[in-house]
Symmetry: C2
């Protein structure tokens, strides 16, 4: 059922079938370096693989200094371990017997971590590990302001940590503190302020853990929009940026100011003009099934005056400004996805391009791995 690749190695970019997911290797490698340079060894990097779902990329992140990757789902973690990644944190709760059995099986094959936010889940997790004779690193997920999962800072967090520490097959590994909504706050100062308040919750909880004689080895968290603030605060030991390798159109709307480095767009959707119904409109062959629009429409890359305004299932509308260079029928355009993670999840292959030529095809092995 897997889809054939839309290109072969050696092909020129303009010959690639469309829609196709294009990775600009030069920009991608720049982004890897830019992260390392910014962090400069002050914290550990555990890159988030939910963004790319691709062991080829994960291996390059590890080669660039990451200690391993994060995943959001057990099936995603399975694909990463299968692809040679030895240290994986499922930065999410895993609930339900079947999933926990798979997690336990995986914990026998790799250094594995997981998050919890509920005592029932700790019991379920311990039972699954015991049944499989496996051990796993367990982090409490701390609610630090994004109002999703997570245990409240203070006493509830300590009680949960104690339950983990008392479970013979779970290793209490520390605190997972991630503020997802902060990543997309436009103002740099506001982003810093939100992370400062998250840092206060982390510090007070860590202090309580120490008072309770529960050692807290690692505080992990942070994303591509804020990680240097977490580094600056000094309360995190490990950061989890994902989107930095690609940089989508929504992230580009953020204000980027020091200490945050600015990353380059490396991920594109190549699309063909399939209709020219009028002088001010081009219709592309890339719609909702080719680029996720949950965070806004994709941007048209380096074609001034062309704006992607609307998407239906398999079509995209591009408005052409009066004096803009209009694309002809059959011309190909590069789009920058509005949101990289769910866009990547639509494709089976990265078409990796350097200097306009296809250099490699990387399988998106964890595409659809949502279980």
């Amino acid at each position: 059922m897997s889809v054939r690749a839309p290109a072969v190695v050696g092909m020129r970019l303009e010959e690639v079938d469309t829609p196709a997911l294009i990775l600009d290797l030069g920009a991608f490698e720049t982004n890897l370096r830019r992260l390392s340079d910014a962090v400069s060894g002050r914290v550990r990097v555990r890159a988030h693989a939910k963004t790319h779902k691709c062991p080829e990329i994960a291996r390059r992140q590890v080669a660039a200094g990451a200690v391993g990757v994060c995943c959001q789902k057990v099936s995603e973690a399975e694909a990463m371990v299968e692809g040679g990644i030895a240290d994986v944190l499922v930065s999410n709760e895993v609930v339900g017997r079947g999933k926990l059995e798979r997690l336990a099986a995986l914990a026998r094959r790799a250094q594995l971590g997981v998050c919890v936010d509920h005592a029932d889940n700790v019991r379920e997790l311990q039972a699954a590990m015991q049944a499989a004779s496996a051990r796993i690193d367990v982090y409490i997920e701390l609610e630090v302001g994004m109002h999703r999962c997570g245990v409240a800072p203070g006493a509830p967090a300590v009680a949960l940590a104690r339950a983990i520490a008392a479970s013979p097959d779970l290793r209490f590994a520390g605190i997972h503190a991630y503020h997802g909504r902060a990543q997309h706050i436009r103002s740099s100062d506001e982003r810093r302020a939100v992370i400062r308040s998250a840092a206060a919750a982390v510090r007070s909880t860590k202090g309580l853990l120490e008072k309770s004689n529960i050692p807290c080895p690692i505080v992990t968290g942070a994303g591509s929009g804020t990680f240097m603030f977490e580094v600056e605060m000094g309360a995190w030991d490990e950061i989890q940026p994902g989107s930095y390798v690609f940089m989508d159109w929504d992230y580009a709307r953020n204000e980027w100011a020091p200490p945050m480095p600015r990353f380059e767009h490396s991920l594109f959707v190549l699309a063909t003009v399939m209709s020219r119904p009028g002088p001010d409109t081009a219709i592309l062959d890339a719609g909702l099934k080719a680029s996720s629009v949950d965070s806004g429409m994709p941007g048209v890359w380096e074609r001034p005056g062309l704006v992607y305004t609307r998407a239906s299932d398999e079509h995209g509308w591009v408005e052409i400004a009066p004096r803009a260079a209009a694309p002809g029928l059959g011309d190909k355009l590069l789009l920058v996805p509005g949101h990289c993670d769910p866009t990547v999840n639509l494709y089976d292959w990265y078409v990796c391009v350097r200097a306009g030529v296809v250099e490699a095809l990387w399988p998106i092995s964890a595409r659809g791995a949502v279980y």
Copy 2:
């Protein structure tokens, strides 16, 4: 790279791993019958396979009386022909040499049709068919008000039809007249009024074709929100409903009044409550990668007082009203997708359920077939 199925045959629904795409076979079969009963042989039915991307479903539509299916992409048509469907219309323009070569190869294996809206595309299509010694049915796509692809009614349409008729390896098959935006107009009367104006464009163009001695064998078009209006107008020979087999949450917002039949929800996403951060909130393991939100959030099925309010990549927020029955950690809920087509494209399998038991697993063979 294909993803393992989240269930096995014989399993109970509540044992299915999550997120999973569930097809309620009873409701699905009701929808097949309800379409046949409504149309009652007055026009041909060519069901749209872009909705389901699954030959198992296409074969059941043909068994229920459809002459074949529509597809939007060549790769989707390839999957349908491979899956045993002998008559496929690509109800869309196909632009670019590589795609046209594949279309021509497919035209040698099945009864194939395609749409055009530009004379350059007619020349390109003729060249591809000639090179492959293939023949294909070609429809002019008529712009009838949705402002996407399509040639203007009247003289431009006639000129295009003449170009097709003059091409030795193309058979001029008629007019494709589809008004996509009309499908989701909430008021039944307004939907009828829009289709009446589309019918006027169809009739005037067909009249001009006849005056020009260009026979127009078939007028094809219409979707799940309007098809009985097209039947009522008498200007269409063939209808192309797709979503009727599933009926999504957005379609459910339409006013449904005779002559349109009301279809049942047969498509669901099964999700697990993975966190209960507070008394009024449940977090599900199904977010943007499990259900497309372009037409609104999914609905929570048969759980009064529970509302799915927000999605991030792998999480969904459910608000719990004060006196509603609150789901516990690990409980499973059924969601009705906001928009069925792009949601189906996220999955590899339909988990087909009858009376609460998994009866079959159908592969979504054309998942990701966007080329």
